[in-house]
């Protein structure tokens, strides 16, 4: 008789890795299934300069659209030709994905922010959407647990809208960041260091950051949190974890007692379907892949008595901002300004309490700012002319580069923003792909416009000179790679797919970890909350929560 695992975990990213660590330590026999291949950070992630690469980082121009990512990191991204998706006619959505052991933790921006009660209870404040089935008091111990383990370098500020946590020392600010901090303070805006799962000292056998600035191409030493260096090793040490890579899960199989029996996966290179069984099925692929699997597993969608599976897809707004120079830094000496790949955070300061309430839009956003020398001198294109004079202009402004961008801007949750199975298009393994319906709401546009105005105000206050030239569109959807929702959590089974433990209301042994549970996005980077929700859900599986 085939082995029956205690749990099957689909996916190996932030949530899959965390679940594997918790469940194996809790004594469960776990099978982890990953659609992509394994990596070896020490071997696969090396410091490569652009001039070391055939196409200088752009990738082969004949294959540009095939991969998410660029020449340095496409191996830890995804081959779009094998894994297509479609969009509705009114939708322009760029879905950034990875299929690799470790998932997006291998190249994430590492931002680790706690959500606050004004976000968990946003609907009660302004009437839009639905409150979360958890609040800050419920989540706090899980945020504590995750931060203590992954290591977050940050500075405690005592801001009610940006809760402090268990922090390692913050990384120092560079010159541009110091100037922007002073500017924001003089405007009365709350600032702090970007909170990053990037170590400033030895932590849980992982070394501190060596400030190469190469994070999004994979960390060679594991100083930035990722599954492969941080959560899989302790899971493997229990002897309770089996990992199978290059296994594309095609559906969750049910038994006659309304319980998940296991999953069917397709071997990536042989196309052979394989059934595996378990007492619990944990979906921890990316948010939309989790929902795709639930849509694939039943004609009406698995665990979909609410009819809301696939609906209320949300993202955070991205794009816009200001690029220019801070003249005070002109002609400065060579410095390692981009070595931590970070910046400062200006916490949301609107619509979080009675006093800060705006009349013209609801919800808020977080800004980031940084500057100084960077691998590619982005300002060069904006300086007109040519010749030796032009070279001098570029060189003198190189140390003075500066930019302000939006980190997380809350988009409203709307039922019509949704995913469904495309009736025609299938992936390389014959599995129907997702079709995305996604547009901006008027409130999203107003919020972006307000951000743009505030970003320029900050830039002026810092004494900055805005440079002419192309600015990124503020209408880029998907650019933040913060897609959440589509199986929202609810107290009542009629109003959502998951309960507060991310267990499906309908099927007791089916859990969904990731962004699926989010009824609203808030303005924080979501990954820390994904992991905290996973920790809480695992407690529930283990009978501890």
């Amino acid at each position: 008789m085939a082995k029956i695992y205690d749990a099957i975990i689909v996916g190996s990213g932030a949530c899959g890795g965390w679940a594997a660590m918790e469940l194996t330590r809790g004594g469960m026999q776990v099978l982890m299934l990953e659609a992509g291949s394994p990596v070896n950070p020490a071997r696969d992630f090396q410091h490569k300069h652009l001039y070391d690469l055939d196409y200088r980082g752009r990738g082969n121009p004949g294959q540009l659209r095939r991969y998410s990512g660029d020449e340095r990191n496409y191996r830890i991204m995804l081959d779009n030709s094998e894994n297509p998706y479609t969009t509705a006619p009114d939708t322009v959505y760029r879905w950034g994905r990875s299929r690799v052991l470790g998932g997006r933790t291998l190249h994430w921006a590492r931002a680790s922010d706690r959500m606050a009660d004004y976000e968990f209870k946003a609907a009660s404040r302004d009437g839009w959407g639905m409150d979360w089935a958890v609040d800050y008091a419920t989540m706090k111990p899980y945020y504590d647990r995750v931060e203590s383990y992954i290591g977050v370098s940050a500075s405690a500020e005592g801001l009610p809208q940006f809760p402090d946590g268990v922090f390692l020392p913050a990384m120092p600010l560079n010159c541009a960041e110091s100037i922007f901090t002073a500017a924001a303070k003089s405007l009365g805006w709350p600032t702090t260091h970007r909170r990053l799962a990037q170590l400033t000292r030895m932590h849980n056998n992982r070394p501190p950051c060596h400030y190469c600035g190469n994070c999004v191409n994979g960390c060679d030493v594991g100083a930035m949190f990722n599954t492969v260096v941080a959560t899989l090793p302790p899971a493997r040490r229990t002897g309770n974890l089996e990992v199978r890579t290059d296994c594309v899960v095609a559906q969750v199989r049910m038994n006659n007692e309304n319980r998940a029996q296991g999953v069917t996966y397709i071997e990536r290179f042989t196309n052979k379907p394989v059934d595996v069984d378990a007492k619990y099925v944990v979906l921890a692929a990316s948010t939309l892949e989790n929902t795709r699997l639930m849509l694939l597993s039943h004609k009406d969608g698995l665990a979909n008595s609410s009819g809301l599976l696939g609906h209320y897809m949300i993202d955070q707004v991205s794009g816009g901002g200001v690029v220019g120079i801070l003249p005070i830094l002109k002609g400065g000496p060579a410095r390692l300004d981009d070595g931590k790949a970070a910046g400062i955070t200006i916490a949301n300061f609107q619509n979080f309490d009675q006093k800060s309430t705006r009349k013209d839009f609801i919800r808020g956003y977080v800004m980031n700012a940084t500057g100084g020398q960077s691998e590619y001198p982005t300002i060069a294109a904006a300086i007109p002319g040519f010749g030796s004079d032009w070279k001098k202009e570029v060189k003198s402004r190189y140390a003075a580069q500066a930019r302000v961008w939006i980190a997380g801007g809350e988009m409203l949750a709307r039922k019509e923003n949704r995913v469904e199975l495309d009736p025609e298009v299938k992936d390389k393994w014959g599995i129907p792909v997702l079709k995305i319906h996604f547009t901006h709401h008027e409130n999203d546009r107003k919020l972006i416009a307000d951000f743009q105005q505030k970003a320029e105000e900050l830039f002026r206050k810092a004494g900055g000179e805005k440079l002419a030239g192309p600015t990124r569109s503020t209408q880029r959807l998907g650019g933040s790679i913060h897609e959440v929702g589509t199986a929202r959590m609810s107290v009542s089974p009629k109003e959502g797919v998951l309960n507060s433990w991310c267990q499906t209301h309908d099927i007791p042994n089916l859990y969904v970890f990731g962004g699926n549970a989010f009824p609203s996005t808030g303005d924080k980077h979501p990954t820390l909350t994904f992991m905290a929700l996973t920790a809480r859900g695992c407690d529930h599986i283990l009978g501890r929560g």
Partner: protein, 160 residues
């Protein structure tokens, strides 16, 4: 027994330089020999060699040729049009002394302005992603192992 040839670092450097000089001329893959010579000259006017390296040391024209050759048909067509515009503007036949003024004219409203912008953009990319551009000209310090991150210690950067 010692039959190794002993050679100083300086001698090695000289030898290396001689080998480089003796290297066969680059044979363009995409551009015709005349177009490639014109492109090389154009890139060296845009980013000249002065007290710091320029497009010549960075071999920008060679990278552009390599990259365009690997590009889809539409990109190749754009480059064919650009080189034709340069030809029509008389760049190919102009003397070295006349060329900078021609480039200056193209940088303004000019029939070959689109060609100027295309070459400027790709030349800039080629230069700033080359070792001479990144390391020698910009003195970029990143993508390296460091013990600490340099904090800003300037009082004037902590007030506005």
């Amino acid at each position: 027994m010692r039959d190794n040839i002993s050679i100083s670092r300086r001698e090695l450097a000289i030898l290396f330089a001689q080998v480089l000089q003796a290297a066969p001329e680059y044979r363009p893959q995409f551009f015709s020999a005349e177009d490639f010579a014109a492109l090389e000259s154009f890139t060296e006017i845009l980013i000249p060699t002065d007290d710091t390296p320029g497009a010549r040391e960075a071999r920008c024209a060679q990278f552009i040729d390599f990259y365009v050759n690997a590009s889809p048909a539409e990109a190749k067509e754009r480059w064919r049009e650009a080189m034709q515009a340069l030809r029509t503007a008389g760049f190919h036949t102009a003397s070295a002394a006349e060329r900078p003024a021609l480039v200056a004219a193209m940088s303004q409203e000019h029939p070959a302005h689109a060609a100027y912008l295309l070459i400027r953009q790709e030349n800039m990319f080629a230069f700033f992603t080359s070792k001479p551009g990144t390391v020698e000209f910009l003195d970029y310090r990143g993508n390296s192992h460091n013990d600490s991150f340099p904090a800003c210690t300037h009082p004037e950067h902590h007030r506005v």
